[in-house]
Point group: C2
């Protein structure tokens, strides 16, 4: 089964668009985990235990694991093993490079670590992401409109009357021969999200920016899903994994994840039935 | 001393613009290194021993070390320690992400590994690379025109009458408050290199594409240097580190490095005296 069908099936089976971002910043992990051999791993284990039934995906921002060197690599490898079947594992590393190098990147993420999907940067063009796309059962989320302020610097520049990010989206559509390409579209850019959804009705969108970055959840659901209320992967990281209180860590994380899932599903009910 | 001045001084002291790309692909490392505990490390040691007097920089393509997991990380760390002072160590990972993540990426490369410079991708805009730029003694090479075929997909799109890559170059100029920004410009795009050098006379250009990718060395030197014949960092990877014969590996590597340095310096003599 190609990636985009697999993702849709998981979202349907679990009735969830929620993705938890395991951006397990070592400097923010609660003290109680610091005594263990590998704090990032135990922190992730603790989160996965109480949220795996609520999510369609976990997203690992690779930078937070690269920062902690060999321990980070072990945390990444072992955390991935803890995730039950039927949940998408996304490597968020924004990769892409000339052909022989991109092949190494894709092999590392998809074969060595066995991730199900990866984020890639479009600036270098097709051949820089082709080795990722060639894994048809794996997903490739191409950066389109990112959630940060700097997204205005280049992504919104007008090319033949259309912003650059639209050109990226149209190329992504053209390149999607294996039905395994998606886009990254920040929840902080609702007008762009709406526009992109009209252009690409069935394509999965990985949507960061909810929570700490203050994207509007209701509008994100209203404009970000395909017609049937699926195909948006709503990533929430810091607002779930770093609860404001450190008492009852697992209970707090579970409650936050339930809150986001419930809000997402309320909005889906409102707009897609 | 800020990075760009430091690079210029090293190029002047060593009379070399040559950068060797330690893209130490484990699948291409000669058999004789395979018996050692860490083949990538021993391969790099062997190259560094016989080339360090000839180069201004070594560039490490991170993907080739990520592929080999923990051993790759150790190879990277220890190879960097083998490089004598007075040579620039470039991390080629094409990084860039939202602020808190980019900070982790910059800390990892510049503090944990002690690289002197890094390549970054401009698609996400200023705040995605600002944490790198804030290390004023470290260099930040922003992808501008890349050496691969896919560079045509977006980099050459026309925005207000100018190609996108020129907008990237002009932003880079504006962002260069700490005198530590450079551009990546592929040797396979001579017209663009010429144009960019007229726009940015003093900025360092990291120029891949010579050797395996068949960029024209003479034209690269003619159009890629600043007025005094410096500020181009000519990267050669596979054509030096993987000699066609596996006999006398170190001797072959040394000869290839000398050949490239000599060709570069002949061209500099022709066009800059």
């Amino acid at each position: 089964m190609n990636f985009n069908q697999k993702l849709l099936k998981i979202q349907q089976d679990k009735n969830s668009l929620l993705c938890i971002g395991l951006d397990s910043d070592i400097s923010r992990i609660p003290e109680s985990f610091k005594k263990s051999e590998n704090p990032q791993l135990e922190f992730n284990r603790s989160i996965i235990q109480v949220t795996h039934d609520l999510v369609c995906a976990y997203k690992f921002n690779l930078a937070f694991y690269e920062e902690t060197g060999i321990k980070g690599m072990q945390a990444l490898e072992k955390s991935l093993e803890l995730i039950p079947d039927g949940i998408i594992k996304i490597a968020d590393g924004k990769r892409g490079d000339i052909g022989n190098t991109a092949q190494k990147q894709a092999d590392t993420l998809f074969k060595l670590f066995n991730f199900d999907a990866a984020t890639v940067n479009p600036y270098m063009g097709f051949d820089a992401i082709e080795p990722f796309i060639n894994f048809s059962e794996k997903g490739v989320f191409i950066l389109c409109v990112t959630s940060n302020l700097g997204s205005k610097d280049f992504q919104h520049l007008s090319v033949s009357g259309k912003p650059l990010f639209e050109h990226v989206a149209l190329k992504a559509k053209k390149w999607n021969q294996h039905d395994n390409i998606g886009l990254v579209v920040g929840a902080t850019h609702i007008a762009e999200l709406k526009k992109l959804r009209t252009l690409l009705m069935e394509m999965p969108f990985l949507i960061p920016g909810i929570g700490a970055q203050k994207g509007d959840l209701e509008k994100t659901i209203k404009y970000g899903c395909s017609d049937d209320g699926y195909n948006a992967v709503i990533n929430v990281g810091r607002s779930i994994i770093f609860p404001s209180t450190s008492n009852n860590f697992q209970e707090s994380v579970r409650k936050l994840a339930e809150k986001y899932l419930s809000e997402i599903n309320s909005c889906r009910k409102k707009y897609y039935t």
